[in-house]
C-alpha cells in the first residue's frame, strides 16, 4: 500500500512545486521533515519506554484480567476469531481501555504487541486477517471518553467553556466508531 502511495505523494508534490513555484519551500521541507522525525521519536522514546515498563507490570498482575472480563462480550462480537486466544484478546482489550482513557502513549505499545501476536498466528503473513483489520480499524476510530488534548488547547486559547465540546465529541466519535465496525464487518466478507 505505502509502496504505491508514498512515491505518488512525493512525485506529485515535486512536479506540482515546479509548476506552482514552491520549489524552495519543498527544498526546506525535505530537511525539516528529517528533523521533525527525530524530535518526535525522542519525545516518543521516553514515554513509550515508560508506559511499556508500567504496562509490563500491569500485564503480570490480575488487574487486566478484571478489566478484560468487563470488555469480553464486546471483544467477542468484534473479534470472533480470537475466541480461543486468551493472551491476544487480553492485549486487545487493554489497548481499547487505554484508548478510551486517552492514554495514547500507553495504548500504542500494547497495540503493537497485540498485532504482533496476531501476526504470529496469521496464515498469510503478507495480508491482514479479519481480526487484525478490525483491530487497526477500532484504533483509527479513537473511542475517547475525555478529549484532554483539545480541551487543553481550547482553554489555552481563552475559551469561555473549554469542555463545551465533550457531548459533541461523544456523538461524533460513536458515529465514526460504528461506521468503522459496520464497514469492517461487511467488507471483511467480500474483500
Amino acid at each position: 500500500m505505502l509502496n504505491k502511495i508514498w512515491p505518488l505523494f512525493i512525485i506529485i508534490s515535486f512536479i506540482y512545486s515546479i509548476y506552482s513555484g514552491n520549489i524552495s519551500n519543498v527544498n526546506n521541507a525535505i530537511f525539516s521533515s528529517a528533523e521533525e522525525t527525530v524530535n518526535l521519536c525522542i519525545t516518543l522514546l521516553g514515554t513509550l519506554c515508560l508506559w511499556n515498563g508500567i504496562m509490563n507490570i500491569a500485564i503480570k498482575t490480575s488487574l487486566i484480567q478484571k478489566l478484560t472480563k468487563f470488555l469480553k462480550p464486546f471483544i467477542s462480537i468484534l473479534f470472533p476469531d480470537l475466541k480461543n486466544d486468551k493472551d491476544i484478546s487480553e492485549q486487545v482489550s487493554m489497548n481499547v481501555i487505554a484508548n478510551m482513557l486517552g492514554l495514547g502513549n500507553a495504548s500504542t505499545p500494547i497495540g503493537l504487541k497485540a498485532i504482533t501476536s496476531m501476526q504470529e498466528k496469521n496464515k498469510d503473513k503478507t495480508t491482514l486477517n479479519n481480526s487484525m483489520a478490525m483491530f487497526i480499524l477500532i484504533n483509527t476510530a479513537s473511542l475517547q471518553i475525555i478529549p484532554t488534548t483539545v480541551i487543553s488547547i481550547r482553554s489555552s486559547l481563552g475559551s469561555s467553556n473549554p469542555s463545551k465540546i465533550i457531548l459533541a465529541v461523544w456523538v461524533a466519535t460513536v458515529c465514526a466508531f460504528l461506521t468503522a465496525v459496520i464497514l469492517g464487518k461487511l467488507l471483511s466478507k467480500k474483500f
Partner: protein, 175 residues
C-alpha cells in the same frame, strides 16, 4: 468543568498508582518487570523511526508544494452545496494524515475565527473525535511488515468522514 480537568489530570497518575499497587500486592518484582518492559520500548521506536521519517517527508512536501491547497480549492464548491464551512477543510484533509500538522491547523483556525465560534467548535470536535488514521494504519502495518491491508484504509477514512460530518451536523443543530 473543574471536575473534568481534575479527571484528566488524575487519569495518568491514578493508572500508574493502581498498577504498581496491584504489582506489590501480588508480590511481583515490580522494578525488574518495569525495566524489562521499558527495554521493549526502545525496540519499538527503533522499528518505527524509518517509517516515520518516510511519512514525514511525504506529508511535508505535499503541504509545502501547494498540492493540499490545490485540492481544497477543487473541493470547495461541493462543500458549499452541503453547507460545510470551507474554513475547516485543511483540517479535515490533514487530520487523517498528520497529528502535529492537524493540531497546528486546528489551533490556527480557532485563533482566527474564535475558539467558541461555530467554526471553532466544529474544529475542536473534529480534533477530539478523530484519530490520525494514516499514521495509525502505517504504524501497525509496518510493525508487522504486512503488504496487503485490504479494506482497512477505505473503511477508516469513511469512519473519519462520518465523524467529521457528525461534528458539523451537531453544531448546525445546536446553533
Amino acid at each position: 468543568m473543574n471536575i473534568i480537568n481534575y479527571i484528566s489530570n488524575i487519569a495518568v497518575p491514578f493508572s500508574i498508582l493502581l498498577i504498581i499497587i496491584y504489582g506489590v500486592i501480588e508480590k511481583n518484582k515490580v522494578f525488574d518487570t518495569f525495566l524489562e518492559g521499558a527495554k521493549d520500548g526502545l525496540k519499538i521506536v527503533y522499528n518505527i523511526f524509518p517509517t516515520l521519517l518516510g511519512l514525514f517527508l511525504a506529508i511535508n512536501v505535499l503541504r509545502e508544494s501547494g498540492v493540499i491547497d490545490f485540492i481544497i480549492n477543487f473541493i470547495n464548491p461541493f462543500l458549499k452545496l452541503m453547507k460545510i464551512p470551507a474554513e475547516i477543510l485543511p483540517l479535515a484533509l490533514l487530520r487523517p494524515i498528520s497529528g502535529s500538522a492537524s493540531m497546528a491547523v486546528a489551533t490556527d483556525i480557532m485563533t482566527k475565527y474564535g475558539v467558541d465560534s461555530f467554526i471553532g467548535l466544529i474544529s475542536s470536535t473534529i480534533m477530539g473525535s478523530t484519530e490520525t488514521t494514516l499514521y495509525t494504519i502505517a504504524l501497525y502495518t509496518s510493525a508487522i511488515k504486512v503488504k496487503r491491508i485490504r479494506f482497512v484504509l477505505f473503511a477508516a477514512l469513511m469512519a473519519d468522514l462520518v465523524g467529521m460530518i457528525s461534528s458539523v451536523v451537531f453544531w448546525q443543530i445546536m446553533s
